[in-house]
């Protein structure tokens, strides 16, 4: 099984300090130039040497004579950088795919890297409801750009909680949920992680194997230690349910468990509802704390409620959990960084105290969240017509992806490509874990100009009816060339 993420060091996470780096940084204290030294030598002749504290003395600055100093324009002083010892961090593997794609001059190329939706024409999509909401905002001259509160736009927070937990959720009605606006899914995960590292007693988080490449980095930097639980079964290209139950079953009591609410990234493999129920029972019996990452609500099946089922099951049993929401995909607001972190607590009093502590995490990070994206989301969610229109546009996006899955599956079958490709239509959401190995992937990039992450993950959103044949050809060639 290929690891979805290699060691953190390979990602440049640890700060490498190489020998060559240190030699250049050691020149900091002896960086005066020739003219600097001449001026100082001159100064010594003019003035009595006044005692200088030993700590300040070094070989070249014997007498800080204020009346003779290098002219600012003499360019006598060139500091060496205190960061000269840095090495260049490796490219983020996912974003790096798009960088490579952009560099490719070939007229026929396909970007199946980043999980951003594309239309049939291969273009990014700004939803109609988003355009309408944005126009509304611009036209409203009474709107101002003042700081949001630290927890963000109140209206937006309430609407977001309802969206994921359900409008009739008892947790909401009992005021047991605190929701804070954060910067998309990433920001919500980071704030949640930092909060847990400060206030929770079990500082280990279990993440599925594989998972989104940024997960381990976010949680590690937040101060948690990261372990994994088995998830994907390369043999079936489906869920390793036994392995999952075993690993969660042997986790220490109270450990945090990261769960993808739906449309698992990168595999597209989700537990069934029955399996979710078993997971829930196991976790509650071991007092494991669920932390949901909900990045694709509505995008997976086309139904917002269906995609929220796993989260609602857990909240429905009265227990506590964390939920990170993102509107990047389901509202196409990628660049606006709109998300929310909800923490479901035992009581309203606890929820209120938790909220006050969340503010202490946020304030020294970026003070308060950005206003624009959240305003758009709130405008859409609270308006019946816009909301309905949104659900229709959302279903259209989900349907197009489901259609691409079917077309790719049919195309591979038509070519008689060796292997069982049914996982393409069984997996759900934006990504397909093809099962291709890195050699095959490299071949496809080289020969067919198809860009994807080396773990064999493809973004179905990057496909169109027009380009499916090209991809099918490439897969066929890769599989038959490298068995």
């Amino acid at each position: 099984m290929r690891q979805q993420f290699t060691s953190l060091e390979a990602h440049g996470f640890e700060s490498p300090t190489t020998e060559s780096a240190f030699s250049s940084s050691s020149s900091i204290s002896s960086s005066s130039s020739a003219s600097d030294r001449r001026l100082k030598a001159l100064a010594r002749h003019f003035v009595d040497s006044s005692p200088v504290p030993a700590a300040v003395m070094d070989s070249h600055s014997q007498n800080p004579n204020d009346t003779v100093s290098p002219s600012p324009t003499s360019s006598a002083f060139h500091a060496d950088s205190v960061f000269a010892h840095l090495v260049r961090a490796p490219e983020d593997p996912i974003l790096g795919v798009t960088v490579a794609y952009n560099k490719d001059p070939s007229p026929i190329k396909l970007n199946l890297g980043v999980g951003a939706y594309r239309t049939e024409e291969g273009k990014p999509l700004v939803l109609n409801v988003v355009r309408q909401a944005e126009q509304q905002l611009v036209n409203d001259r009474s709107r101002v750009k003042e700081y949001l509160p630290i927890v963000g736009l109140a209206e937006y927070n309430k609407l977001s909680a309802k969206l994921i937990l359900g409008a009739d959720s008892p947790a909401i009605q009992e005021n047991r949920v605190t929701t804070v606006q954060c910067l998309s899914g990433t920001g919500s995960l980071r704030v949640g992680g930092e909060f847990l590292a400060r206030h929770y007693h079990q500082l280990t988080i279990y993440i599925p194997l594989p998972t989104w490449g940024n997960h381990p980095k976010i949680f590690t930097l937040a101060g948690l230690s990261v372990k994994t639980y088995r998830y994907y079964d390369p043999a079936t290209r489906g869920l390793d349910f036994q392995g999952l139950l075993e690993d969660l079953g042997s986790a220490p009591s109270g450990a945090i468990v990261l769960l993808h609410a739906c449309a698992h990234n990168p595999t597209g493999v989700d537990p069934t509802i029955q399996q979710w129920e078993q997971i829930r029972q196991l976790m509650r019996s071991k007092a494991l704390l669920p932390f949901f990452d909900s990045a694709y609500q509505g995008f997976a099946s086309g139904s917002l409620d269906a995609d929220a089922q796993p989260v609602r099951m857990f909240v429905g049993d009265g227990g506590e959990c964390l939920v990170a929401q993102s509107y990047a995909k389901n509202m196409g607001l990628y660049g606006e960084r709109v998300g929310a972190l909800s923490i479901v607590c035992k009581s309203a009093d606890v929820a209120s105290r938790v909220e006050s502590q969340l503010k202490l995490v946020i304030r020294p990070m970026y003070s308060s969240p950005p206003i624009h994206g959240a305003s758009i989301v709130a405008a859409i969610l609270k308006d019946r017509n816009l909301y309905t229109e949104w659900t229709i546009e959302l279903k259209a996006m989900a349907d197009r992806i489901i259609s691409m899955r079917q077309q790719l599956f049919d195309a591979l079958r038509a070519r008689g490509t060796p292997g069982d490709w049914s996982h393409i239509i069984k997996q759900i959401g934006m990504f397909t874990f093809t099962g291709l190995n890195s050699e095959q992937v490299a071949f496809m990039t080289r020969e067919y100009h198809i860009y994807m992450t080396s773990d064999g993950r493809i973004s179905m959103a990057g496909l169109s009816s027009r380009t499916v044949p090209h991809l099918a050809d490439a897969i066929h060639a890769a599989v038959t060339s490298f068995a």
Partner: protein, 443 residues
């Protein structure tokens, strides 16, 4: 992995193990879960001293109330302002087809324009690209990125803040696990700069220490070094090989002139320092809620800049990935279109002038009331804030009796003062200070 404070770990461990043994036979009914709440021990956090003021202000129903808390500009009617240049930019970009591949381009444009603004458009460092620049979540976000970066590559080094400084600075560096120190800055008796003490502290700090400097309109005191003093500070920094980090939150607000307000930075640049710089567009473009800023770190050459930038991007990626595109688009649209930029420059001057006006008027009013105290500092201090010298008790009285809201260190946001409330304010200040002889000596 950085060590995090572990509160009550022993207590929790004990409770955890008790739970394990007793839950083995438990059903999954909610009754079983109700005994144990993970967050029961979470204590309520103290309110943020600055945003807490606004919260209290909003809750007050008194018609005479004044908010002198947060540093957000208000017009003479006491209303928040959306600059015309911002509205123009917004009309341009509203509903436009934004391609994700442009995100990098927009970010780069913003960084380029921000660097020109801080360093001067003809600065060598800009022309040669010898700096690592990254768009950031306003000033706070830029500071936090740098603090995390400093910690990663100089893990032993503390940061030195002026005493006093913006209340969030220590939180930012502390959350990045960087030890915090201070250097003397404000002189409570003169209500000006304690230059001799400042220079001493710079000299006595260990070589190659990291210092945070406010290049203009110091927050909270409004006290800035003179140009000559900046030159001396820069020279001493050279002697000590200190790292200068500038928090540029008010460029344009001090004098009304963007270049003049950047003088301290330019002096350091001329002197060859490789500085770091956090820029915010919250105040000078009125984009508070959009969270737009820029972090730049000067490097020896463009190659090193690539390495530094890649490391900064990694830090940002694990925190929030990128700042929101809307704000970045607004700023880069304004700065790169000559007409819109010219309009912006005018609007900044208008804001700065109004504040200077309010300073004069407030001081005159207090003098006319025959206040026993010296109020020169109101017009000597610069930028959005006046460090009034009021004691915490006096501030409490202003809040309680007069519904005037400010932070308990006596910092008043002059942006909250208007021609219609300045007399009320002067009278209130006079009331709480007229009988208190000590007020003239206390900070």
């Amino acid at each position: 992995m950085k060590p995090k404070p572990r509160i009550n770990i022993i207590m929790w461990g004990f409770m955890g193990s008790r739970l394990t043994s007793s839950t083995r036979c438990m059903s999954t009914s909610t009754k079983a879960l109700s005994r144990f709440g993970w967050w029961d021990r979470v204590s309520p956090a103290a309110k943020d001293p600055i945003t807490g003021v606004t919260e209290a202000f909003l809750a007050d129903t008194n018609p005479h109330k004044i908010n002198l808390g947060v540093g957000a500009y208000r017009d003479d009617e006491g209303k928040p302002v959306v600059l015309q240049c911002v509205r123009n930019a917004e009309a341009k970009i509203a509903g436009c087809d934004f391609m994700e591949s442009n995100a990098t381009a927009v970010g780069s444009k913003l960084v380029e324009e921000s660097a020109k603004l801080a360093y001067g458009k003809d600065a060598n460092v800009v022309k040669e690209g010898a700096f690592a620049g990254l768009q950031a979540l306003s000033g706070t976000g830029a500071c936090r990125l740098f603090a995390e970066f400093q910690r990663r590559f100089h893990p032993e080094s503390p940061i030195y803040f002026p005493d006093p400084t913006w209340s969030n600075h220590p939180n930012i560096w502390r959350d990045a696990q960087v030890p915090v120190r201070t250097f003397q800055y404000y002189h409570p008796v003169s209500k000006g700069l304690n230059f001799a003490a400042l220079m001493d502290d710079i000299k006595n700090a260990p070589d190659a220490s990291f210092f945070l400097l406010h290049p203009c309109a110091h927050n909270p005191t409004g006290v800035d070094p003179t140009v000559e003093q900046w030159r001396e500070i820069s020279y001493q920094f050279k002697e000590k090989s200190h790292f200068p980090f500038f928090d540029v939150a008010y460029q344009g607000f001090a004098s009304g002139d963007l270049d003049m307000d950047a003088q301290a930075i330019r002096i350091f640049l001329e002197d060859g320092h490789l500085i770091g710089c956090a820029q915010s567009f919250a105040k000078n473009m009125g984009l508070y809620g959009h969270r737009v800023g820029c972090l730049s770190v000067l490097c020896a050459d463009a190659k090193q800049a690539v390495a530094v930038k890649s490391q900064l991007q990694q830090i940002a990626r694990a925190m929030y990935s990128n700042p929101p595109i809307h704000g970045l688009l607004l700023v880069s649209t304004i700065l790169s279109d000559p007409e819109t930029k010219a309009l912006w420059v005018k609007e900044v001057k208008v804001m700065a002038n109004r504040i200077q006006q309010m300073r004069s008027t407030l001081r005159e009013s207090l003098e006319k009331l025959a206040s026993p105290l010296n109020w020169e500092h109101i017009t000597n201090q610069v930028g959005m804030f006046c460090f009034s010298g009021l004691t915490a008790d006096q501030v409490d009285r202003l809040v309680r009796e007069f519904h005037i809201y400010l932070t308990r260190d006596g910092r008043m946001s002059m942006a909250g003062v208007t021609t219609s409330n300045v007399s009320y304010l002067a009278n209130a200040i006079h009331e709480v200070t007229r009988y208190n002889r000590e007020a003239s000596n206390v900070c």
